[in-house]
C-alpha cells in the first residue's frame, strides 16, 4: 500500500527540519512519481459461448500476464482481479477485442466492469459499474471487434474490480490473445 502524502500546513515560527522536508517534499512528490498503477493482459484469449438463460454464458475474464504493477494490485492466484491497495480515485480501462466474424446475424458483444462481485458472472446487479455494448449488424471478418470501457471510480483499499464479457452470437466466439486485450487502473487523486 502506498502512503498518500498529507502536506504540512506551514506556520510562522516553524523550524524546518530534514524530517519535514523528507515527508512533505520528497515523499509528496515521490508519491506522484510512483502513483499506484497496474496493467495486465491476456496471453491466451477466452472462448465465450452464449447461453439462452442467465447469465448467458458470461465469462469473468482472466488476465494471466502482468505488464506492470507498483502497488500489489494484481496476483497470479486471483488473476481476474485488480485490487485497490491505496484508497482513491482511479482511472480504469478494460479493453477486449473479439475475433472478427463474418455473419449477417453476428450478435452483440458486452463488456462489464464489476466491483466486489466475488468472481460472479451474474450481471445486472449493483456490482456492475460500467458497460460497453456493441451491436454487430454487418457481415465482415476483416477486423477484430472491440469492447472498451475507460472510466473513473472511487475505490477503497480492498475493493477489487473484474471484467465480465458476454457474446450473444449463438456459437462460440474467441477473444484475441496478446497484449492488446488489457485491464488497468491508475491512481489519479484522493477520494
Amino acid at each position: 500500500m502506498a502512503t498518500i502524502p498529507s502536506p504540512k500546513n506551514w506556520a510562522s515560527g516553524d523550524e524546518v527540519t530534514a524530517s519535514q522536508f523528507n515527508t512533505d517534499i520528497r515523499d509528496g512528490f515521490g508519491f506522484l512519481k510512483h502513483r499506484p498503477m497496474a496493467l495486465v493482459y491476456d496471453s491466451a484469449g477466452e472462448t465465450v459461448t452464449f447461453s439462452a438463460s442467465a447469465p448467458y454464458g458470461a465469462v469473468v475474464y482472466s488476465w494471466d500476464t502482468l505488464e506492470f504493477d507498483n502497488d500489489g494490485i494484481w496476483s497470479s492466484g486471483a488473476n481476474t482481479r485488480l485490487t485497490c491497495r491505496t484508497t482513491g480515485i482511479y482511472e480504469i480501462t478494460s479493453h477486449v477485442e473479439w475475433t472478427g466474424y463474418s455473419n449477417a446475424n453476428a450478435g452483440n458483444r458486452y463488456l462489464f466492469v464489476t466491483k466486489n462481485n466475488a468472481g460472479s458472472n451474474t450481471l445486472g446487479t449493483s456490482a456492475d459499474i460500467a458497460l460497453d455494448q456493441q451491436y454487430v449488424k454487418i457481415s465482415d471478418s476483416s477486423y477484430p471487434q472491440s469492447t472498451h470501457v475507460c472510466m473513473l471510480a472511487s475505490l477503497t483499499s480492498g475493493d477489487y474490480i473484474e471484467t465480465v464479457i458476454v457474446n450473444t452470437k449463438t456459437t462460440a466466439l474467441t477473444t484475441i490473445a496478446g497484449y492488446s486485450n488489457h485491464f488497468s487502473m491508475c491512481f489519479v487523486g484522493s477520494s
Binding site: I25, H34, Y143, S146, H148
Partner: protein, 189 residues
C-alpha cells in the same frame, strides 16, 4: 526531459537557494509540464485504400512539452522513459458502408509490434440511425491505453476502413470532431 531527483534531506545540512530550486521548484514545475504531446490535423486526410491500414498524420501541435512530434507526419518519439497514457481518435466522414478501426503500433529498437490497442471495427461502422433513415453520420474510433515506454520508442497510429473506396479522415479545420492523438507521462514504476 529530465525526471527530477527527489532529495533525501539530512539533519544538519544547510538548505541553499540552489537546493530549493533543484528539489522544490523544479520538481513542482515538472508536474506542471510533464512529458506530454497532443496533436491534431487541421485538414481532412483521404484514407485512400479501402481494406487497409493507413498511417494517421498530424500537422498541428496543441501541446508538446518533450519534443515528441516534429510537427508534421505520423511518428511520435518518446524522449523520457515512463508509463504513459496514450489516447487517439480518428473521425471518418459519413458513409454507410463497411467497418472503421483505429490501431496503435510501437517500434522499439527498430522492431515494430502492431495492434497494442485496436478499437472500432464492425461495431463502429456507419451509425445505426443511418441504416434506418438512410442518412449517414461521421464515425469515430477511440483508443485509451497505458503503455510502458522507453526513450526512443516510436508510436504510430493507423486508421482502417473498408467502405469500398477512399474515405476522408476529418481534420480540426472542418469539424468539431476530428482526428487527434495525445501521449502523456503518468509516472514511473
Amino acid at each position: 526531459m529530465a525526471i527530477p531527483v527527489l532529495r533525501n534531506w539530512s539533519v544538519g545540512e544547510l538548505v541553499t537557494a540552489s537546493m530549493m530550486n533543484n528539489y522544490v521548484r523544479d520538481v513542482g514545475d515538472f508536474w506542471l509540464d510533464v512529458p506530454w504531446v497532443h496533436m491534431d490535423n487541421s485538414a481532412n486526410v483521404s484514407h485512400t485504400t479501402s481494406g487497409s491500414y493507413q498511417l494517421l498524420t498530424f500537422n498541428t501541435t496543441l501541446r508538446d512539452t518533450d519534443n515528441m512530434h516534429p510537427g508534421s507526419g505520423g511518428v511520435f518519439t518518446v524522449a523520457t522513459t515512463g508509463i504513459y497514457q496514450v489516447h487517439a481518435e480518428v473521425m471518418f466522414a459519413a458513409n454507410l458502408t463497411g467497418c472503421r478501426g483505429l490501431s496503435v503500433d510501437r517500434t522499439r529498437s527498430g522492431v515494430s509490434t502492431t495492434g497494442w490497442c485496436r478499437s472500432g471495427a464492425c461495431s463502429s461502422y456507419a451509425d445505426d440511425i443511418a441504416t434506418v433513415d438512410s442518412v449517414a453520420f461521421e464515425t469515430s474510433c477511440q483508443i485509451d491505453r497505458m503503455m510502458s515506454l522507453l526513450a526512443g520508442d516510436e508510436l504510430r497510429f493507423y486508421g482502417y476502413q473498408n467502405s469500398g473506396g477512399a474515405l476522408n479522415m476529418l481534420g480540426s479545420g472542418t469539424t468539431n470532431y476530428y482526428t487527434q492523438a495525445s501521449i502523456r507521462w503518468l509516472g514511473q514504476l
